[in-house]
């Protein structure tokens, strides 16, 4: 091995996994707070305006009392970005153990709901861990000797869908699918709007679904895709989602989607797979970078979609 970097300790990874998980449950990220605030100011319907005000109040109380912002604490999960030069004391297996332990411990300590159960027997281990739980997804970055740990508590039984469209369906097909998705899940507020909508376009079926969730959860509200055509589609879809008029909680209002993020992947020449995920009003995410020196840097921007992650060429 040519690398000389110091290993990042497993204890530190545990501590950061614990802290990000805790913050995710309690603290609404800055971009979310700003977007809820703007939606509240803009809202023309009195009931929707009142509810948006309550959401802002709830965000304050959650932090003041250190209690989860929503009573359904969703499914805690991690996104981990590994710098190519990063070394972990105990390797990736130690990292995964630390993340699983952190989820189990935080469930007890800040009273997360034990949401994870066996799908058939419905047995509940009581700590949000189990087979394939919590989800841990990875990406990599050249050069870095650090590890990014991103905790997301994704809520919602509603809001995600997939469909195989075809090239001839084009933008009309994409727009229709978005409208279908809103009509199905924003009605009566089942998916808890205002939401951040993630669209995964292209790739394979599983990539489309994965990208839609990452697009919903791992980009700042207001961020635009570097590909100008994709960015234009994001604007168009955000406008369309809000024109439906479902509004907060589906009671009728001006803001149904705080934003729409589209991620693309190169796909089969004959198809146009599309998936949509909605990140609910309980906008829960916390990000930290851990350095080998032991330094930890919390930040707002997940920086998940780096130019390298979205690369087009071989390199």
């Amino acid at each position: 091995m040519s690398t000389t970097s110091t290993a990042i300790s497993r204890e530190l990874i545990y501590q950061v996994a614990y802290e990000t998980n805790k913050r995710a449950a309690i603290v609404v990220p800055q971009d979310g707070l700003a977007a809820f605030g703007e939606a509240w100011e803009r809202e023309s319907k009195p009931l929707a305006h009142f509810i948006l005000g309550q959401i802002l109040e709830n965000a304050k109380l959650a932090v003041a009392d250190a209690r989860p912002m929503c009573g359904d604490t969703g499914l805690p999960r991690y996104y981990v970005k590994l710098g190519n030069e990063a070394r972990i004391d105990g390797g990736v297996v130690a990292l995964e153990r630390a993340l699983r332990q952190a989820v189990a411990d935080i469930t007890q300590d800040i009273q997360l709901r034990s949401n994870r159960v066996h799908p058939l027997t419905r047995r509940n281990p009581g700590n949000n861990t189990g087979v394939f739980a919590p989800n841990i997804d990875y990406s990599f970055e050249p050069g870095g000797d650090w590890i990014d740990i991103i905790a997301v508590h994704k809520g919602g039984l509603f809001g995600t869908d997939y469909r195989m469209l075809f090239p001839a369906d084009g933008t009309d097909g994409i727009k229709r699918f978005l409208l279908d998705n809103m009509a199905e899940f924003a009605r009566r507020g089942l998916s808890c709007p205002p939401v951040v909508v993630g669209v995964g376009l292209g790739g394979t079926k599983d990539q489309a679904v994965t990208l839609s969730k990452e697009a919903a959860c791992l980009r700042l509200i207001g961020d635009r895709h570097p590909d100008s055509e994709v960015a234009a589609l994001e604007e168009e879809l955000r406008h369309l989602a809000n024109q439906t008029g479902f509004g907060v909680m589906g009671v009728g209002g001006d803001t149904t989607a705080l934003d729409v993020h589209v991620e693309i992947a190169y796909t089969h020449t004959g198809g146009l797979p599309i998936a949509i995920s909605q990140f609910c009003t309980a906008y829960r995410r916390s990000v930290a970078r851990v350095f080998p020196s032991g330094e930890v840097e919390f930040r707002e921007d997940p920086q998940w979609f780096t130019p390298y992650y979205r690369r087009e060429g071989i390199e």
Binding site: R67, M69, D72, G250
Partner: protein, 224 residues
């Protein structure tokens, strides 16, 4: 009032019929007093499998929440709840006749309500209302309203999330009256307007070249 036209009520549980009668779809409600939780687990265990509840629920209250709280056992036998939210109630419509009939429930607090038909056929008959939590993510506000966990039952049988929890609440709200005793649904009224806008948005967008089973359903369809 900051919420515009919506009327506000402060009510005490168990609810008395004169209180329930004045509630109209679209009103806001704050509840104080004892309440209990019942959702998938409790409905199955108590209503379908016929297990008698470990305490006299009807004696305690007539308000039931379709909720599993974010709560834990802090020391043996002692429970705390940090945050609270209800779950989507439409899937429990099938249990309503029995719950209202046998347990005398007068207010079901869920999320997003049930169909107008259920209100017309079941709730109206029993003089009961269906309330919904709001936001929907007002977990911290609702969690604060829980003054005391009175008891937690059937933890062994159902797991902590599906267990039967009883609370003493103080101003649990805002809650929205979704279905009133006349069988009106707040969302059904709202959706009439939204459906008109929605129809216009679909205009001019060509349908997909390859359909899906069930696609003949129109976007304005209530899916439950």
């Amino acid at each position: 009032m900051s919420q515009g036209q919506n009327r506000e009520w402060e009510l005490t549980c168990p609810l008395v019929s004169s209180d329930i009668e004045k509630l109209a779809a679209g009103d806001l409600v704050y509840l104080s007093g004892p309440v209990y939780t019942a959702r998938d687990g409790v409905y199955q265990h108590m209503l379908i499998d016929g297990n008698a509840p470990p305490i006299d629920l009807q004696e305690l209250t007539n308000v039931s929440l379709q909720s599993s709280p974010a709560g834990v056992e802090v020391s043996p036998g002692e429970f705390e709840v940090a945050s609270l939210q209800a779950t989507a109630g439409f899937r429990y419509a099938q249990y309503m006749p029995q719950l209202l009939e046998e347990f005398g429930v007068k207010a079901v607090v869920g999320k997003a309500g049930m169909s107008e038909q259920v209100y017309q056929e079941v709730f109206r008959k029993h003089g009961a209302v269906c309330l919904t939590t709001m936001g929907y993510g007002l977990g911290a506000i609702y969690g604060r309203a829980i003054k005391k966990v009175l008891g937690v039952y059937w933890v062994e049988e159902l797991g902590i999330s599906e267990a039967l929890w009883t609370f003493e609440v103080d101003r649990l709200g805002p809650l929205l009256v979704e279905g009133d005793i006349h069988g009106n649904s707040f969302f059904a009224q709202v959706n009439d307007d939204i459906n008109r806008q929605l129809g216009a948005l679909y205009e001019g967008l060509k349908p997909p070249v390859y359909g899906r089973i069930g696609e003949e359903q129109k976007p304005e369809t209530e899916l439950f």
